[in-house]
């Protein structure tokens, strides 16, 4: 990878459970098309979770994921998805996985099959690392699965965050404001004990930037908007001086609605 540039998309679901008629297909399709036509090209996208709103005992998981992946097919790069609460049971407090309270739901199984398996990932939590050709910088993306939390993931998170890189991005569905409702509130102290460039979350259906906690919320990927922001996505681009330019873009107009720069430590630049 010649330079670090990626996009962020998050939260794409209908208003109601098993509501495939309300799936925001046209919105998420436009978002992926927009990202695909960005110049310079965007080689990969991270997504913050919630790709469906399906009852665990129902049959709409694959149908809704197929709509999502159909939209996603408009983009020719790689997508690295985080797990949302709707990929467990739908409840923010739900916890999935073998041995967890909610077990392996159909939502989780189908999501992993449809979105993780194609990129060679076998667990809902994982790390992706990118390095400059001349080794001048490196970046790790640590994907936390709040709704598949267990002691194994906790130990993995500590280990993953201990690997030194120039940039560290934590991608987790639930942001700080919702963390106490999740099974993974312990992830907060682990993350706080390690270097962090930017925490990338969704769950809340809006865009927001909280500089003090090094967090951006990107949950405006088609799910019903909870604030005044429009649907859109975020672009992150490494600058020549090593800082990162973060831009939030409107999916209809392409207008940059928010922009800020941070250093590799996450401090404002």
């Amino acid at each position: 990878m010649s330079d670090l540039r990626f996009a962020v998309v998050g939260d794409t679901r209908p208003p109601n459970i098993d509501d495939i008629s309300g799936y925001p297909t046209s919105i998420i399709t436009k978002i992926w098309q927009d990202i695909d036509t960005e110049s310079p090209a965007v080689p990969f996208v991270v997504s913050t979770g919630d790709y469906m709103f399906a009852s665990t005992n129902g049959t709409q998981q694959l149908s809704q994921l197929n709509l999502y992946m159909g939209a996603r097919s408009n983009y020719h790069g790689t997508q690295y998805p985080a797990m949302g609460n709707h990929e467990c049971t739908g409840a923010t407090a739900s916890n999935c996985g073998a041995g967890a309270a909610d077990g392996i739901t159909k939502n989780m199984a189908d999501w992993m099959t449809m979105m993780l398996q194609p990129i060679g990932i076998s667990k809902p939590y994982y790390t992706e690392t990118f390095t400059a050709p001349d080794n001048s910088w490196s970046a790790k993306f640590v994907f936390v699965a709040c709704n598949a939390w267990n002691t194994t993931q906790s130990a993995w998170l500590t280990s993953a965050l201990s690997v030194p890189t120039t940039y560290t991005f934590v991608v987790r569905h639930e942001g700080d404001s919702a963390l106490s409702q999740t099974p993974c509130s312990a992830s907060s102290s682990i993350i706080a004990a390690h270097p962090l460039t930017l925490k990338i979350v969704g769950h809340t259906h809006t865009y927001a930037h909280y500089a003090s906690s090094k967090e951006i919320v990107v949950g405006n990927g088609g799910a019903p908007l909870t604030s005044g922001n429009n649907y859109g996505y975020v672009l992150v681009t490494r600058q020549a001086n090593g800082n990162l330019l973060v831009q939030e873009k409107d999916y209809q107009t392409g207008a940059v609605l928010d922009t800020f720069q941070i250093t590799p430590t996450g401090a404002g630049a």
Partner: protein, 186 residues
């Protein structure tokens, strides 16, 4: 706005939302008859709401989809017009409310389900999904009102419907959305 324009707006809103969705009644102003019982309890998980109800999204004064998002879904049975009013909302407060009118019946229903004025025979219940009422410290998602209004009070089909909602998200800017039009009962 004249009746014909209202119907056109309704059709336009329905088309803009559903041109890619495989569901009945998409380009129609016909409110379907519920084929299964709908309980007015604030929990709109009955499949009728997702698979059968007539629906439209609210728009803002700019003609775009309202932000925050709101939506109306409508069914009827032998006795009542059944209405679901959906509100995406990052900070659900007791004062949040929908203004709703169907024919001569006009009312306001807040996020607790309280009706103003109390109309005899009209039932309303509110449901919060992943939300906490009157607590701005966390981010909420959505709330829903289920309404049942006796058909006898509404009058003959077609029925003029108006639904509106203003909200003040955490940025303290009030934003409003609405839908209005005329629907026919199946």
């Amino acid at each position: 706005m004249r009746v014909r324009e209202l119907i056109a707006v309704a059709a336009l809103v329905a088309c803009s939302k559903h041109h890619d969705a495989p569901v009945k009644h998409l380009e129609s102003d016909v409110v379907p008859r519920a084929q299964a019982a709908v309980t007015i309890d604030g929990n709109w998980e009955e499949p009728e709401w997702s698979h059968r109800a007539w629906r439209a999204q609210f728009t803002g004064s700019d003609g775009q989809l309202a932000r925050p998002s709101s939506e109306i879904r409508v069914l009827h049975d032998d006795h009542d017009l059944l209405v679901a009013l959906y509100a995406a909302d990052e900070n659900i407060e007791t004062r949040d409310a929908f203004d709703f009118a169907a024919g001569p019946v006009s009312l306001r229903v807040d996020a607790t389900g309280k009706l103003t004025p109390a109309v005899p025979g009209v039932r309303a219940k509110a449901g919060l999904d992943e939300g906490t009422l009157d607590d701005a410290r966390d981010d909420d998602e959505e709330w829903v009102i289920e309404l049942a209004i006796p058909l006898a009070q509404i009058g003959p089909s077609p029925v003029a419907i108006q639904a509106a909602r203003c909200d003040v998200p955490k940025d303290n800017v009030q934003r409003c959305g609405q839908w209005s039009g005329r629907v026919r009962l199946e």
